[in-house]
Amino acid sequence: MATGQRVTSFSARRVRADVPQLTRVVNGRTITYLDTASSSLQPRAVIEAMSRYYELRHANVHRGVYQTANEATEAYEGSRASVANFIHAPGGAAEVVFTKNTTESFNLIAKSWGAANLGPGDVVLLSEMEHHANIVPWFQLRETTGIEVRFIPVSDDFRLDLSHLDELLRGVRLLSITGMSNVLGTRNPLKELAGAAHRVGALIAVDGAQSVAHGTTDVAELDLDFLTFSGHKMLGPTGIGVLWTREEILDDMPPFLGGGGMIADVRTDGYTPARGVTRFEAGTPPIAEAVGLNAAVRYLEGLGMENVSAHERDLTQDALTRLELTFDGRVRVIGPLNTLDRGGVISLDVEGIHPHDVAQVLDQFGVCVRPGHHCAKPLMRRFGLAATARASFGPYSLKKDTDVLLEALEHTLKMFG
């Protein structure tokens, strides 16, 4: 990626000025948005790209021969090419399937590739830090195929316990694992894991929902087989997600949803599915969302993913240090305490105060954090927690967001202490 000339151009303040929602006033205070891990906010470029599309260019894709229909198709397919470029897909746009979100992408892998390729005794290896989106589809597949679902444990230092990886990999056909935990912030050693999976003849699928918008993703360099992510967690719109997989895997996957757009032919005695990625895109796809996603990808590339990553690492280090200094253990971080292989997701246990109460008080300060189990109940159980209050950073976050967070946490402790 040509980030060289952009290194000095990154300014979180400028990013902030690009995001209209960050000027909102809630409860008398300007919003302090610390919930990017749940959903990111959109810069004007994304919102305007979608508006312009609806105002001037909307038509169904892959159908009409008139001017705007061609433009809509070009916009939709252009987004596919941008996304492929963004993750360095070796086969380009032909390897990018548009879905609804990360969850649907995992369902597609399980219900298409999994159902066609896995049977009784085959093992799908997950980890204890997975989001439910990368757990439940595999349990569902287990019900119909008799596969075994196994979990890599998480150690007390909030990282994968890989000490028994060789044993765990026995019989494994797919290692499906998150690039970055949405609760702990832990980044996993994907290249090492891909190598280990491939050595036993297994494929590797990576949940990129939390990682793709916060650093460079190179599926070829990491040697991955599947990558899933969502538009709305990377400054793009809701309603669109991505499944990337290598072309030779894609060619062997049976269709997922049936309907228009995914066929080569339909007769009264049956149908023939289309070739390539459109085989997985039945019905009118999320066209405006693809346009928005394209704008988000270009916006992120303009910032430079290395810059975004460095900025968020700086914010995370600052927040971890100040949380420790200010609260002296009364606020416990559920996740690694250093920024090595760690992203800007900070889960907090505030001295036994329930996260819903914490989040409620924080809301009075205009601070948006997410309380709950974060769709990672096995991980919560692992650490004996019902829930945490989670703060997370994006490219528009500033250290002053942490100032407000600390102020609001002090008030919370005073109130419930």
Binding site: H356, Q364, H373
Partner: protein, 156 residues
């Protein structure tokens, strides 16, 4: 911060910090019922000792936020020792309060509602929850679980 003070009244924080009727009862004779809020992971376990149509004793365990914990604590103090019919009507009144339709305090014509509200006593402190719609399920968890427990007892 007036809104927040509406939600976290002193009496609510008091019940949260020192929950009443906390603990377990031997089963049998007591009946055990469990309630669960899948959205936030909160749970409550209620032990009911019913004799001759009277809720002689009630104990609760479980974990949750201040609203769910104080609501269950307040509930236990109000229903303990009461005939089942009265317990049932208190549940109904509380649920009604949580729907936000309650206006009877300022309406002299509706004597029935006023009487019902009086039976709620300290529970009226939970009125502020209505202004925070996502927290209503916190306040009603114990009540729904109690109702479920009474139904199980009635059908057994």
């Amino acid at each position: 911060m007036s809104n927040l003070e509406d939600l976290y009244r002193e009496i609510i924080l008091d019940h949260y910090r020192s929950p009443r009727n906390r603990g377990e009862l031997p089963t049998p004779p007591a009946h055990r019922v469990e309630g669960f809020n899948p959205l936030c992971g909160d749970d409550v376990v209620i032990f009911l000792d019913v004799r001759d149509g009277v809720l002689e004793d009630i104990k609760l365990t479980g974990r949750g936020c201040s609203i769910s914990q104080s609501s269950s604590s307040l509930m236990s103090t109000v229903v303990k020792g009461k005939p089942l019919a009265q317990v049932q009507s208190t549940i109904d009144t509380f649920k009604e309060l949580m729907t936000g339709h309650e206006t009877s305090l300022s309406n002299d014509d509706e004597h029935d509602d006023e009487l019902d509200l009086r039976t709620l006593g300290e529970l009226a402190a939970l009125q502020g929850v209505v202004k925070f719609p996502v927290r209503i399920k916190c306040a009603t968890l114990a009540w729904n679980t109690l109702r479920q427990g009474l139904e199980e007892l009635a059908s057994s």
